[in-house]
Subunit: 339 residues, 2 copies
């Protein structure tokens, strides 16, 4: 087998079949495949087919409900609540989105609360779905405790992703999505495999002392990005998207799961804003935003998401580039159907 | 004159009189004095009586309306809009707060938009007012362009503060409030006066090159905290609390003002969440939050705001400590009434 290209549709079909064959319902398989293929399409290998194995491992561990039927409640004021019933969050989000968008247009601002979901991959696909509705979006969720708060010594926070998007006309949205840890845990794992020392400021060992040893870091704690400020944002995510929505924080999520090798269960909080309503006719929010975004590009700074959108353009034209090893992994998953 | 103590009430009276004598309406003088004295009380010297001069300079420059009568509109869905009419934001916030709190309890989630306000001092007093209502709060606003986006070379972003608070029973709220620049501009100014080089990663010179020279930094641009992640959050603030609410972004704010030596005019966005509504009866959000906050303290990490609350306790008991120079400054402001 050799490196080569696969069309977005063909890859979607293969990934959907692998996930469905493992035991997930058709709706879940479609929602998960969409997210995984979006990762590959956009050049985010860490959120692509690499994730299929973790998805199947989570199922084998009995920590995700493969045929969960998420239920979207009637909005309670500005709050749209989706009960994911222990399934992956992706389908729950997709089902809740039209109600969230309608409520945001009605109230100007609305929140989607997803409870009892299993986290899967990135938040930016959800944020892009919100911007596609002409709305601005903010999303956040806990994870499992692998990060020490600034000034602390032990894992308590998750890598807690925070994502935001702003809709743009005739071009990709302004979207960012990042872990509130200095790096993702997988990055530390890559240093371990390569036998390279970690940069300063990434991690603590099990005694809470700064370490450059990846092995010691994996036994200890990662650190939040940006010192006490990034740490503060991560704690906000625990409070708003954990405690407030009546769901796990990262420490109770880890307790429930008992491992960091499969996908974490928790809740998620998503806010949607209708710019036209917020502007109240004072000025055109889109035009002001375009001038601002243009000024970022005008000084040569890259927009967040820019690399992703460039990779997407390429994949739409040429197909998705996979290595021989990735083709082999797909073959193996198709034949053996296990993680 | 000697270093000494002044009671909170006595200092409030003196500051209120100075501001009123300068030409501000009684309502504005009271709102500003409350914020300034809160800064002194909580040991935040940079937001204390030091700010009176800037307040008066802004008035002398004709860039704040001293008797503006902020108008709170009927809520539009979940949005409570306050027209500050060119006055300082503090009074506008105070007037809008009861409506915001009522709307948050009604909808679960509500937003206050303050337009055409002049920024004054910190966001944490506002956040504390929200937590005092039993609500969680998030606040943000642009500033004026002094910070380059990550990867950029020129000032475009403001120091854009971001603040959050969570209500706690029987003890001070969990509150943080920080500039999204590495440091506040005043910090760079302190290095300049001391003739000390800036730490790496704080600033760029006018050519967009990294610099350790405070003078060059003040002519160039500061950098956001936390690299591209902090930069992303700062851009979110420009979009949500600038473009979206039909108000200035930091670059247009600077254009309008023409200087960074007086207070910036722009808008502000404040979100209020009702935890009980978000939890939907699933679990007690306060109890989960207390367990989480306890775990932060349990590993010896300081809570954000902790120093401020300790200083407040002390000030409530002993009065506020002022230096001889600070007493002299108050005397001078009382006699001369100018910045």
């Amino acid at each position: 087998m050799r490196d080569g290209f696969v069309s977005i549709d063909a890859l979607t079909e293969r990934v959907t079949a692998i996930i469905a064959n493992a035991g997930f319902s058709a709706d879940h398989a479609a929602a998960l495949a969409r997210t995984i293929v979006a990762g590959e399409r956009d050049g985010c290998k860490s959120h692509g087919i690499y994730r299929i194995a973790g998805c199947l491992r989570t199922l084998e561990a009995g920590k995700v409900v493969p045929d969960a039927d998420p239920v979207v409640a009637e909005p309670d004021g500005a709050i749209v609540r989706v009960d994911a019933k222990g399934g992956f969050a992706n389908l729950a989000f997709t089902r809740g989105l039209p109600v969230l968008a309608e409520q945001a247009r009605k109230s100007g601002l609305a929140a989607m609360v997803i409870n009892d979901c299993v986290h899967f991959a990135a938040l930016w696909p959800e944020i892009e779905d919100i911007t596609a509705e002409g709305l601005a979006g903010m999303a956040m969720c806990p994870s499992y405790a692998t990060v020490a708060p600034a000034g602390g010594t032990q894992p308590l926070l998750g890598t807690n992703p925070f994502a935001f998007g702003w809709p743009r006309e005739g071009q990709p949205p302004y979207v960012f999505d990042f872990a509130t840890s200095v790096v993702a845990r997988g990055e530390v794992e890559l240093y371990r495999r390569a036998g390279d020392p970690l940069p300063d400021g990434w991690a603590l060992d099990a005694d809470g002392q700064p370490t450059n040893d990846p092995e010691a870091a994996l036994d200890g704690a990662m650190l939040p990005f940006g010192g006490h400020k990034g740490s503060a944002i991560s704690t906000m995510i625990e409070l708003l998207a954990g405690a407030m929505i009546g769901d796990f924080t990262s420490d109770t999520a880890l307790e429930w799961l008992g491992t960091t090798t499969i996908a974490p269960r928790h809740g998620e909080l998503i806010l949607a804003f209708d710019p036209a309503r917020f502007a109240g006719g004072r000025a055109d929010p889109r035009a002001t935003a375009e001038a601002f975004i243009g000024a970022i590009e005008g000084q040569g700074a890259r927009l967040p998401g820019q690399r992703r959108f460039a990779a997407r353009d390429k994949a739409m034209n040429e197909g998705i580039a996979l290595t021989a090893a990735e083709f082999e992994e797909l073959d193996r998953l198709e034949k053996e159907g296990v993680a």
